[in-house]
C-alpha cells in the first residue's frame, strides 16, 4: 500500500483532472469511451445502424426496468410486454390526431410521453394486489395472463389501436423542434444532415442515460435494498420491518413505468404500433436480455438489450456476406433461422458457463486481473456500503 501515494503525487495537473473523472477502473474507462461513441454516433453511422441503435436504446430502458423487478426485487414477470404495450398505445392515443375513424387527443408529445409512463405505472400498481400475494413462478405465470388479455383488448379496441394492422405514431416534438424530417426541414451538424433517425438518437440516448442513472439510484438506495431484502428472504425481510407487499407493489410500479417509457420509445422508433409488437415473445426477449447481462445489473441489462435487439437485424442485413446461408424457404439455414439459433445457443451457453451473466463474468475477470497484476487497487470505500449509508 505504501507505494501508491508516491505514484499518484507525480501526476501533473491535466492528468490529475482526468484522473478526477475516476477513469482508473476499466469499467469506467470503457463506459466513457462508449458514451463518446454514442454521442458521436449519428455523425458516422448509416441509417441501418441508427435504426438498430434506436431499438437497442428503447430496449435498454425496458430492460433496466425489468432487471429492477426481476433481478433486484426477485419477482419473476412474464408480463413486461403488456406494460410496454400500455405505454406505446397510451402515447399513440394521446399524441395522435382524431382521423380516419381513430380516436386521438392531439396532446403535446411531451405530455403524451409522460402520460405513457404514468398510465403504465398505474397499470403496474393495479396489478400489484395480485403481485403482492404471489411469488416466484406463481407471479410469473399470473403475469403471463396479462400479455394474452392485453393482446385481446388491443386487437378489439380498433378505434384506439387500429386493431391487427395497428396505427401510425405521431412524431415526437418539443415546442419549436420536431424529432422528424420536418420543422426545421433541414438541419446539419458538422456537414451531416440530421433527419428523423439522427434527432431521435439523441432523445433516446438522453432517456436511456436518465433511465440508467435513476436505476442505479433506486438499486443503491433505501428502496433497492428493501427490494433485495425481499428477494433474499421474505420472512427475514418482514422480520426487520420491511413491508413486503408494499415493496413488491413498488417494484412492480417502478418497472412498469420503465416499460411504459420503453414502449413509447419503441413505438416512436417503429413509427407504427401493432399488437404483435407486444406478444409473449417480447416478454421473453426482455427476460433473456437481463439474464444474459446478469440479473440485477443495470449495465448488464443494457448490454443484453443491445445484443438481443441488434443481433437479428445484423444477421439479416449482412446475410448476403455469409456464404453458408441459403435463401429463405429453400430448406437450408436462412438468416432469420440462424439468428434464432445463435440466440438460443447464447441463452443456453451463458446460463451454463457464465455464472451471473455477462456482468458476473466481467466482475470475475476484473478480480482475476487485479489479483494477477500489480498490488491491486484498493477497493474504493464508496462502492462498499459506508457507515453513513448503512445506518438506519
Amino acid at each position: 500500500m505504501s507505494d501508491r501515494p508516491a505514484a499518484s503525487l507525480r501526476l501533473d495537473s491535466p492528468l490529475r483532472l482526468i484522473s478526477s473523472l475516476r477513469l482508473d477502473s476499466p469499467a469506467r474507462a470503457a463506459g466513457a469511451v462508449l458514451l463518446l461513441a454514442a454521442v458521436a454516433g449519428p455523425l458516422w453511422l448509416t441509417d441501418f445502424w441508427l435504426q438498430a441503435g434506436l431499438f437497442a436504446m428503447a430496449a435498454a430502458v425496458g430492460a433496466i426496468g425489468l432487471t429492477l423487478l426481476v433481478g433486484v426485487a426477485g419477482q419473476l414477470s412474464l408480463g413486461h410486454a403488456f406494460f410496454l404495450g400500455v405505454g406505446a398505445y397510451t402515447y399513440t392515443l394521446l399524441a395522435g390526431e382524431r382521423e380516419d375513424g381513430m380516436s386521438g387527443f392531439g396532446l403535446p408529445p411531451v405530455a403524451a410521453l409522460l402520460a405513457a409512463a404514468a398510465v403504465a405505472g398505474a397499470a403496474g400498481a393495479a396489478f400489484s394486489p395480485i403481485a403482492g400475494r404471489l411469488r416466484g413462478i406463481y407471479l410469473g405465470l399470473a403475469s403471463l395472463g396479462l400479455v394474452f388479455l392485453g393482446r385481446h383488448v388491443w386487437l378489439n379496441a380498433e378505434d384506439v389501436t387500429g386493431g391487427y394492422n395497428g396505427r401510425t405514431v405521431e412524431a415526437f416534438a418539443v415546442p419549436g423542434f420536431s424529432f422528424s424530417d420536418e420543422d426545421p426541414d433541414y438541419l446539419a451538424v458538422l456537414g451531416t444532415p440530421f433527419g428523423e433517425l439522427h434527432r431521435l438518437w439523441y432523445l433516446f440516448l438522453a432517456v436511456a442515460l436518465l433511465a440508467a442513472y435513476c436505476g442505479r439510484g433506486i438499486k443503491a438506495g433505501r428502496a433497492g435494498r428493501a427490494m433485495a431484502g425481499v428477494r433474499d428472504g421474505e420472512t427475514a425481510a418482514a422480520s426487520v420491518g420491511i413491508r413486503v407487499a408494499r415493496v413488491k407493489a413498488t417494484a412492480f410500479t417502478v418497472s412498469s413505468v420503465y416499460a411504459g417509457v420503453a414502449g413509447a420509445l419503441t413505438a416512436l422508433a417503429f413509427g407504427r404500433v401493432a399488437p404483435d409488437s407486444f406478444a409473449l415473445t417480447v416478454s421473453i426477449d426482455y427476460l433473456v436480455m437481463i439474464v444474459l447481462g446478469g440479473a440485477g445489473s443495470i449495465a448488464g441489462a443494457s448490454a443484453g438489450a443491445v445484443f438481443v435487439s441488434v443481433l437479428p437485424l445484423m444477421l439479416v442485413q449482412y446475410s448476403a456476406h455469409l456464404p453458408f446461408l441459403s435463401a429463405p424457404g429453400s430448406g437450408g439455414v436462412d438468416a432469420a433461422t440462424l439468428s434464432r439459433f445463435v440466440y438460443g445457443v447464447a441463452i443456453v451457453a451463458v446460463l451454463i458457463f457464465l455464472r451471473g451473466g455477462l456482468a458476473g463474468a466481467l466482475r470475475h475477470l476484473g478480480i482475476r486481473t487485479a489479483r494477477a497484476g500489480r498490488p491491486s487497487r484498493p477497493a474504493r470505500p464508496a462502492e462498499r456500503s459506508t457507515p453513513k449509508e448503512s445506518a438506519p
Binding site: L146, L287, I347, G356
Partner: protein, 296 residues
C-alpha cells in the same frame, strides 16, 4: 340442448388433452422445480416424428417412436442442460428452457417449412355420435386414452417402488438422496414421462378436426399452463381438473361466441388466461394447491 351438450362433450375431451400436457408440467415441476417452457416444442417434436415416420413404420410404430423420441429428448434436456446450471433459481432455469425451446422450435420449423404434415391416424376424420351429440372420433379416443393414462400414472405412483422414489424425491430431495434415491435418475424419469405424455397429446392435437402438424401447434401447450396453475402446480389430479375447467370454458366461449360478442372477437383464445387470472385473484395457490407453510 343437444348443442350445449355437444359443446360440453367437446370441452371435456379438449380438457383431458390439456390435462395430459398440464400433468407434464406438474411432473417436471415436482421432480426438478423447473417451469418447463420447452414443453411445447417437445410436444411438437413428438407429433412431428409420428407424422414423418408413419409412412414407413405404420401409425402404431411411428407413435411408439414419437413417444420414445420425445421422452428421450426431454430427459436429455434435463440431464445435459438443466442439471448443469449452477444457480438453482426458478427464474434462471425457466429461461434456460426458453433457450432450449427456441433451438428445438427453430429446427422443427425449418424441417416442417410451410407444409402441414398429416399425422396418419387410423381413425381419420370419422365422427361418432350418440343421443344427438356428435364428436370427432379422435376426440373420443383422446378422452379415453387420457383417462387410461391418468389411471395408469396414479397406479404407478401409488403402488410401485419407482413411484415411491419419485414421490420421495419430490417431497424432500435432500433426504431422499440420503436414503439412496438417485435424484439424477428420478428427475430424468420425470422429464421423460412429461415428454411422453406431451407426445401423446401432440398426436391428438394434430389429428382431425385440426389440419395437422405445423409449428403453431407448440403454442397450444401454453393453453395448458393456465390448467396447470388452476390445479395448483404440484397436484396431478389438480392438473386434470384444471384441464377440464379450461377445456369446458374454452369450448363454451367458442361455441357461444355470437352471444359473447361484447367481449370482443376471438375471446375463446384468451378464456384460459382470463380464468387463470380470476382464480389466482381469489385463490393465490390455485384450486388444489397447498398453501406454503413458512417456518421461521
Amino acid at each position: 340442448m343437444s348443442y350445449l351438450l355437444t359443446q360440453l362433450v367437446n370441452g371435456v375431451s379438449l380438457g383431458l388433452v390439456l390435462g395430459l400436457i398440464a400433468v407434464g408440467f406438474v411432473v417436471v415441476f415436482k421432480s426438478t422445480g423447473v417451469l418447463n417452457f420447452a414443453h411445447g416444442s417437445v410436444l411438437l417434436l413428438g407429433a412431428y416424428l409420428v407424422a414423418r415416420l408413419h409412412p414407413e413404420l405404420g401409425f402404431w410404430g411411428a407413435l411408439a417412436a414419437g413417444v420414445a423420441g420425445a421422452a428421450l429428448v426431454a430427459a436429455l434436456i434435463n440431464t445435459l442442460l438443466v442439471r448443469r446450471v449452477a444457480e438453482h433459481d426458478p427464474g434462471v432455469l425457466a429461461i434456460l428452457t426458453i433457450g432450449v425451446d427456441i433451438l428445438l422450435l427453430t429446427e422443427l420449423t425449418r424441417q416442417i417449412g410451410n407444409d402441414v404434415l398429416d399425422i396418419g391416424a387410423p381413425w381419420g376424420a370419422s365422427v361418432v355420435g350418440a343421443a344427438g351429440v356428435s364428436l370427432p372420433a379422435s376426440r373420443a379416443i383422446a378422452a379415453g386414452t387420457a383417462v387410461v393414462l391418468f389411471a395408469a400414472l396414479g397406479a404407478l405412483a401409488a403402488r410401485t417402488d419407482w413411484g415411491l422414489a419419485m414421490r420421495a424425491a419430490a417431497a424432500d430431495p435432500d433426504t431422499a438422496s440420503l436414503m439412496g434415491i438417485r435424484l439424477s435418475r428420478t428427475s430424468a424419469v420425470g422429464w421423460g414421462l412429461a415428454g411422453a405424455l406431451a407426445a401423446v397429446a401432440g398426436v391428438f392435437l394434430t389429428s382431425y378436426p385440426t389440419p395437422g402438424v405445423e409449428p403453431g401447434v407448440s403454442v397450444v401447450a401454453f393453453a395448458a399452463i393456465p390448467a396447470w396453475v388452476l390445479g395448483g402446480f404440484d397436484s396431478v389430479p389438480g392438473a386434470v381438473a384444471g384441464g377440464l375447467v379450461i377445456g369446458v370454458a374454452q369450448a363454451l366461449a367458442i361455441g357461444y361466441e355470437s352471444e359473447l360478442h361484447f367481449l370482443g372477437g376471438g375471446f375463446g383464445e384468451v378464456v384460459p388466461y382470463a380464468v387463470m387470472v380470476l382464480v389466482l385473484l381469489l385463490r393465490p395457490h390455485g384450486l388444489f394447491g397447498q398453501k406454503e407453510a413458512i417456518r421461521v
